[in-house]
């Protein structure tokens, strides 16, 4: 089962929920893997302190031109949707930083002058974290504009027989869509503020458009925030937990502590989330084996 923890707005507590849910499930003897798809700024490793025993470069395809075979016909330039190729007489130029690695140019070249090369955009690391949580994350090279190929490669490390807790990047565009694409459940973490609600609505719309099952965790709750509660009620969104605001949570976070260890009174909230997740897992397996 794959569970994506996402939010839209940054800083609502995705990593807090993802790390603690993973740790809590492992503590309850579940096989768990934490997968950090926030490849532009992964930080789950600060909390799970994994022993990383495998590191692999993440590469994308980039075309390589054989100028001897190139007739400057311009077919590749016409077909490239990303303006990544320029044709000059006797000289075809490739701009790898604009290339999305689709490979169409290689296919359409009538002279077979283009071949598939590789470009490294970051790396994937895997290992074992605190409490027996399997760990995988991706780290995108600074200045690299496209995280999606790396996100795909990180998710590829997902273990079939584990509950995969996928920590999503903030935002609601391509990296978010890629991260949740094969999730069985999307848990959206929000905060009771106008900003949190605004981005929650966008996240819900995107996740619904992708046909996803959605649940919500309200973080940093400090009294009722009526617009959020109304929105959740009107849209029949199930709230798995409401984590109360507490300065000590931020203090524990700032030193890389697992919240449910630092503040055991928060365990009840993760128990509620875990119970809901396990309930869905059992339902899923019943559907598979009637």
């Amino acid at each position: 089962m794959k569970i994506a923890i996402a939010s839209g707005k940054g800083g609502t507590g995705k990593t807090t929920v993802a790390v603690n849910l993973a740790w809590y499930l492992a503590d309850r003897s579940r096989k768990v893997q934490y997968i950090d798809c926030d490849v532009e700024e992964p930080n789950g490793h600060f909390f799970l302190s994994p022993y990383l025993n495998e590191k692999a470069d993440a590469c994308v395809m980039v075309p390589v031109v054989d100028q001897q075979k190139c007739s400057s016909c311009g077919e590749c330039v016409k077909k490239c949707q990303f303006n990544a190729i320029a044709r000059l007489p006797g000289n075809t130029l490739i701009f790898p930083e604009l290339c999305h690695g689709c490979g169409l140019c290689v296919l359409v070249c009538p002279n077979k002058a283009l071949s598939e090369g590789e470009r490294t955009i970051g790396y994937v690391e895997t290992g074992m974290g605190w409490g027996g949580v399997q760990f995988a994350h991706g780290v995108l090279n600074v200045g690299e504009p496209m995280p999606n190929p790396l996100i795909r490669q990180v998710k590829h490390r997902g273990l079939e027989d584990h509950v995969c807790i996928i920590d999503a990047p903030p935002g609601t565009s391509c990296p978010f869509v890629e991260t949740i694409s094969d999730a069985d459940l999307v848990i959206l973490v929000t905060e009771p503020t106008p900003f949190g609600l605004h981005d929650l609505k966008i996240s819900v719309d995107v996740a619904l458009a992708r046909g996803k099952q959605i649940c919500v965790v309200v973080n940093r709750e400090n009294g009722p925030f009526t617009p959020l509660n109304e929105y959740l009620a009107v849209n029949k969104l199930k709230v798995l937990a409401r984590l109360p605001e507490d300065r000590r949570v931020a203090e524990a976070y700032s030193t890389g502590e697992i919240l449910v260890q630092a503040m055991p009174e928060y365990a009840v909230h993760f128990e509620a989330i875990a119970d809901a997740v396990i309930g869905m897992m059992n339902n899923c397996s019943r559907e598979v084996r009637p």
Binding site: F82, N83, A84, I85, A86, L88, L93, L98
Partner: protein, 119 residues
């Protein structure tokens, strides 16, 4: 010599467009015949990315030997350099003024892009 000048207008009196890749048009002036033609750049003006690259390729296809624009980014510069086209950065108000400055030798070709991409 053929000089491609970025412009928002349609003639020599038109304003110089300070952008290269996302200029509205290129006026390509022939210093021998004193004639010019207009190349539309609308397609690149609205491109999601790589406007400078494609604009530079289109300018190269006109046989231009020089480009005058307000600024030129690194990718466009790389294409123009590969095509052997000299790039002149200039703050002239009109196309005619810019061409006069070049012909009088009052502006020098740039050795590199003068702005970052997407300035």
């Amino acid at each position: 010599m053929k000089i491609a000048v970025t412009t928002s207008g349609l003639n020599l009196a038109a304003p110089l467009d300070s952008r290269f890749g996302r200029a509205a048009r290129f006026l390509v002036y022939d210093t021998d015949s004193k004639d010019f033609m207009i190349i539309d750049n609308n397609q690149n003006l609205n491109a999601a990315q790589g406007a400078g690259i494609q604009a530079a390729q289109n300018v190269a296809a006109t046989g231009a030997n020089a480009v005058i624009s307000g600024h030129c980014g690194p990718k466009a510069f790389r294409v123009l350099q590969a095509a052997g086209i000299a790039v002149y950065n200039c703050e002239a108000a009109t196309v005619k003024e810019a061409i006069d400055l070049l012909e009088a030798g009052k502006i020098q070709p740039a050795s590199d892009a003068d702005v970052e991409g997407h300035w």
